[in-house]
Symmetry: C2
């Protein structure tokens, strides 16, 4: 194993154990977009499947939209095949489902795709859905909620649905984005990234720059922001 | 009343009411350093004393240290006299009390001064201590705790001591620093500011710059950070 791969493998191992993400007999559906994060996640879980103490099954799912023609699906599927990961692709007409007069937005698009993901998982008997969010995403969510929603609220490494026999797990929770980029570069799968054609993610990009100013680029301070979510001193919050 | 003065008067009024800071018969000890914040606070409380529905008494206390000779005490006392605020000064030998081999630090200095403040308040029968912290201080404390202590913890507008019949109130909680600066400029009392000769506050200054990058200088986003402390979504924090 090369350097960046070892880093990711260790951090996901710590995260999976710390948050009890994987249990014996789990059937895990891995959402893969073709981007570096979920591709790294799929690879990592495929490797862990070989030796992890609890036995688990994985299948990758790609949710294609009616506006995405750039995501290089075949390159992604070749990678998944080479790692012996079964995969499926579902088409969700995100534009087609827009009500007249409504324009595309992140909330609509992600809700549509998340709904399909959950339906597929339930129909096929999966009990976990693995998503590729990493530490930077989670810190970003916390600060976006504070800055724009005026509330302290984050993104959890594990979320159990009340309505369904299903949990969302985020095994990359302890990995920084720069570590995933290094890993993707090392493995050579960085090219399958697909970006939003609507440019709707501009606010998130802006916030990314601001968070980077806040931490001065320090990984230690960024990890402190992440860790703060599990140490809430309610007595000193109004 | 001029413009900046009105702004401060309104914001402190909202703050005092929202957090129930002043009650009938309160004896309030106002800590004054000679800096713009606590001077603005003393002035504002002196004005409110004339018409506020609940009657209250104020006295100003200046805690002088053995390293501060720059604080222009007499200028401060003249201002307090002109506003009809009784005042007292106490000398605390912060350097003198350092144990051999220990060097000066913010924690030691502020603990020594806070202890004297509380002792004086209790000995003289005050039930509230008013401090000049403003909204920027409170947002700064939140983010410093997140960045350096890895915990979500803030500074409250009102803190009731369990050990003593005493509360700390921060009537400037809803005022931004820039609003207090404008007010101090308008009233012409900005010159009595005393800065730490040890330069120990450099980390706080650095954090101030970083927070400013985080909010892009937007007051709205800064107020959202402040408001987030009263909307903690525990369900989405690990």
């Amino acid at each position: 194993m090369k350097n960046a791969e070892t880093t990711i493998a260790k951090l996901t191992e710590v995260g999976i154990r710390r948050y009890s993400m994987i249990e014996e007999g789990d059937r895990i559906l891995v959402a893969v977009s073709g981007g570096k994060d979920s591709t790294a996640l799929a690879y990592d879980l495929a490797m862990k499947r070989k030796w992890w103490p609890a036995r688990f099954e994985i299948r990758a799912i790609h949710i294609a939209t009616d506006f995405c023609s750039c995501c290089k699906k075949s390159a992604l599927f070749e990678l998944l095949d080479s790692w012996d990961i079964a995969h499926v692709s579902i088409d969700v007409p995100v534009i087609g489902r827009l009500k007249p007069g409504k324009s595309m937005n992140c909330w609509w698009c992600s809700t549509q795709r998340r709904t399909e993901l959950i339906h597929y998982a339930l129909a096929e008997g999966f009990n976990k859905v693995a998503l590729g969010h990493h530490l930077d995403d989670m810190v970003e969510t916390l600060l976006m909620n504070m800055l724009y929603k005026a509330q302290i609220s984050g993104m959890l490494p594990v979320v159990k649905y009340n309505k369904y026999p299903l949990s969302v797990i985020r095994p990359l929770a302890l990995c920084e984005e720069r570590q995933i980029i290094a890993f993707a570069d090392e493995k050579g799968f960085r090219s399958a990234v697909c970006t939003c054609p609507y440019g709707l993610e501009s606010k998130r990009r802006e916030v990314r720059g601001r968070i980077s100013s806040l931490t001065g680029g320090s990984s230690e301070l960024k990890r402190n922001l992440f860790d703060s979510m599990s140490k809430v001193n309610q007595e000193y919050l109004a």
